[in-house]
Amino acid sequence: MSVYHLNGPLTDEDVKKLKLGDTVYISGECFTCRSRLQKYIFDEKHTLPFSTEGRNILIHNGPIIVKENGKWKLMSFMPTSSIRFEKWGAKSVDEWNLKMIVGKTTMGASTMAMMKEKKCVHVSPRSVSPNLWIDSIEVQDVHLYDELGRIEAAWFFKVKDLGPFIVDIDAEGNNYFDKLDGEIAERKQKALKDLGIEEDFEFTKLY
């Protein structure tokens, strides 16, 4: 497994070299997104009020940001579960030309197919460590604050060596967790057997 320090905006070459399980740290300009933003743009047909051209890293996150002495202060940050946003995942990758999504819980088949087509990767943390991340993040600006609220607005972050994150969807549409699923399923059969629960056990159907 390799370790990469990447600088945004990311290119196809930057992400194509990443393999499942590789570790990445990212620097550059990113923006945050939760479902309210995607619903606002894709379902309610508003125009994204900023360009993603120099900012093609999306972070699924609803940060805690307070205003202190007239300046934004980031209190906490942790990538959130991407699978919740699967409905708009492919559209986001396609229309916003994303090269990297930082999230958690990976994404589903339709987003993965679009990520393969457009060359985009998904990365996840292996810890819950807001305090090891917030010093790497500078809050630059915010869009749609009044429309979407403090948590679901699109925050602009400038990050420096933010990570480590693990590559869990590569630019070829492969998923780190699919491989793990098989290994866990095998161990689960053994665990059930050890508890005396036979493979052919079936629940009595009550409903």
């Binding site: 805690i64 307070v66 906490s76 699978i83 819980t105 810890s127 629960i197």
Partner: protein, 305 residues
């Protein structure tokens, strides 16, 4: 008579502590997990999480960005007298939640379920949630638990009625299948504190599961050997799966498995799970009749466990 300003400040401090400080028992469970972890990357993840949690206490910021559903448990002495009564206790709890949100100890996470309206202070219909337990005495014990969105939304919290014909095997299979599905790709933020409620109506089982996940001391055992065995067997079984921290592989998938039970109907066994995320946030305080406020190490909801 315990004055409003005393219990309101105690409520606020308990929320702040729950949001920003890791409990001693959870810390100990993390240290043990780090010691036995064999996967190099998982070990780093556990260490980074513990390091960040310790910094939260110093920096007075949230342990995790998702500060969860605000939930209060009150263990109330039968002769406890509060200024303004229990209606005012709940009002004070709402004010304390709003203040903690304004200070950034809590994220404004609670929204209207249909419109998505964000009141900005975590206060709304039936939120925060209050549960009471009545005992002898003239004190009140306050526990604040923050139930994270990941741990609650991805199938870590569910129920099934198991037939008596299927018994313990049915219960254990249901729990294992549920946990594996919910922990995929780290959805419920493992290693989890898994609460299991057995018996009662479905809501009784669900409440017991939630209390077992949020209020039991991590590392404690059920005093009844039958239930302690289920806890131990499932703890071993789930930690043999290799799910690991945030589902990306590793030796620790659960920090604890806690079972609580109620008698049930001859027709079936309600079985519920409630999964608490690895930060397992909670804090407890006690206020004696003379207004003395003290921090509690553990919620004391289930006595000494």
């Amino acid at each position: 008579m315990i004055k409003t300003e005393i219990y309101e400040e105690a409520l606020f401090q308990t929320i702040k502590r729950g949001a920003t400080e890791i409990s001693d028992d959870v810390k100990e469970a993390f240290e043990k997990a780090i010691e036995r972890e064999t996967d190099v990357e998982a070990k780093k993840g556990l260490k980074a999480t513990l390091e960040s949690m310790e910094l939260s206490a110093k920096r007075e910021n949230p342990l995790c960005v998702d500060t969860g559903w605000p939930i209060f448990y009150f263990k109330v002495g039968n002769n406890c007298k509060l200024e303004g009564g229990f209606v005012e206790l709940e009002n004070a709890a709402r004010r304390a939640v709003a203040r903690a949100t304004e200070k950034g100890y809590l994220r404004a996470t609670m929204k209207h379920p249909l419109t998505g309206y964000d009141p900005g202070n975590n206060i709304g219909m039936n939120i925060p949630d209050f549960t009471y337990q009545f005992v002898d005495g003239d004190f009140i014990e306050i526990s604040y638990a923050a139930k994270g969105g990941g741990s609650e939304c991805f199938g870590g919290t569910r129920h099934r009625i198991v037939a008596f014909a299927d018994g313990i095997k049915g219960i254990e299979k249901f729990v294992i299948e549920s946990f594996v599905a919910s922990a995929r790709a780290g959805a419920v933020c493992p290693p989890s504190v898994l609460g299991i409620g057995i018996g009662g109506t479905a809501n009784v089982a669900a409440n017991l599961a939630k209390e077992a996940a949020c209020l039991r001391t991590v590392g404690s055992k059920h005093p009844d050997p039958m239930f302690a065995k289920i806890e131990e067997d499932l703890y071993k079984a789930l930690n043999s799966l290799g799910i690991g921290i945030l589902g990306s592989g590793g030796a620790t998938s659960v920090l604890a498995v806690n079972v609580e039970y109620a008698y049930t109907h001859i027709a079936g066994i309600a079985c519920a799970t409630s999964t608490n995320c690895m930060v397992a946030r909670r804090a407890s305080s006690r206020i004696d009749a003379d207004g003395t406020v003290s921090k509690m190490k553990s919620p004391n909801w289930f006595g000494d466990r």
